[in-house]
Subunit: 204 residues, 2 copies
Amino acid sequence: MNFSSKLLENAVNEFSRLPGIGQKTALRLVLHLLNQPADDVTKFSDALTKLKSEICYCAVCHNIADEAICEICNAPKRDKGLICVVEDTRDVMAIENTNQFNGVYHVLGGLISPMDGVGPSDLSIDSLINRLRENDVHEIILALSATMEGDTTIFYLYKKLKDFNVQISTIARGISFGGELEYVDEVTLGRSIVTRVPYERSIA
Amino acid sequence: MNFSSKLLENAVNEFSRLPGIGQKTALRLVLHLLNQPADDVTKFSDALTKLKSEICYCAVCHNIADEAICEICNAPKRDKGLICVVEDTRDVMAIENTNQFNGVYHVLGGLISPMDGVGPSDLSIDSLINRLRENDVHEIILALSATMEGDTTIFYLYKKLKDFNVQISTIARGISFGGELEYVDEVTLGRSIVTRVPYERSIA
C-alpha cells in the first residue's frame, strides 16, 4: 500500500502485526482512532503501556492479576483443596462464568506441544507439584482442551501426579447441550456411548 | 466477562471500542500483546500517540501528510490542473494503486449525509472552490462512492462548480472486469447498457 504519511504507515504496520488483523483492517482501525479525540487515543495507548508494565501474575496460580496473590486464591470461601488446572486466563474466565466451580485454579501458561517447541519445562508444572506437596489438596481437575496437545499434557500431568494422594479427574467429554445427534462427529458420539452415565447421575 | 485484573479489563475495553472488534477479539488481541516483549508494546502505543499528535493534513488537498503540503501536491510532475475529488485518504490510496492518475487530489473528509448529521459545511468544499478560483484547473473528476450519499454529494458539487470554466466528470459506472452478467444487479446492468461506449473507445 502507498501511504501518504510515514506516521500513518507505522501505526498501520503495528496494528497489522496483531493476530487476525490485515493491512486493510489495520488502516480502518487507525483512521477510526485518528478521528477520535486526542484524549481517547491517549487513554488507549496508556491502557496498553500500563497493562504491560504493571500487570502481575499470581504467585500461587499464575493467573493474570493486579496484586501478588489473585482474588480467587485470596478468597476465604474458595476450596483450596480443589485445584482446576487450565491452559490460560481465558479458560479461568470461561469456567468462572459457569458459576459451577468453587475451588482454585492453576494456570499452566500453555500446553505441551513439541511442534511449537513448548516442552513441560516451559509450563508451570513444577509449581503445581509444589502446591500439592505443601498444601492439603484432595482433588485436581485437568480442564484442558480436547486436542492432541491437551491430551498430551493431561497424560504427562497424570504420570507426574499419580503418586500423590490426590484424586485426578478430567472434565466430561460428550455431546453439547442442544447438540443434535446427527451432526455430532463419530469420535465424540462413540466415546459418549462408551462413557455413558446412569440417568440418576446425569440429573443430579 | 469476569476479568481477573482491572488493567486487563481496561485494555480490553479500549480495544473493544474499535469498530468491528468485540470483547472476545479484544481479549485475544490484548493477551497477544501481553505475550510480546515490552519494547514491542511500547512501539505499538508510541506509534498511536505520535500518529495522533504529529499528523498533519495537507493545506492544499486535506489528505493525511507528514508535512504542511503533501508529497502528491508537491510533486512537480503531477498535473495541478486535474483535480480528483475523493471522500477520504483510503480512496486516494486506492486510486494511487491503479497508477492511472497523474493529477492531484482533493479530500472532502466525508460525504453529505443528513442522516448522520453531515452537511456541506462539514466537508472541505469551500477550499475546493478556492482552489478553482486561484489555480488554472481544467478538469475536476468526482470519484465518490456510488451510494445515496455519494450521489447527493456529486449533485451538490456539480451545482456549486458548474459556473466555473472547468470540465466536471465522474468516474465510469458499469460492470466490473471479470464480472459475470447473470450476477450483476439490474440497476448496474441497465445503466451500463444505457451508457454503452463505442468499442474503439473501450479498448483505447
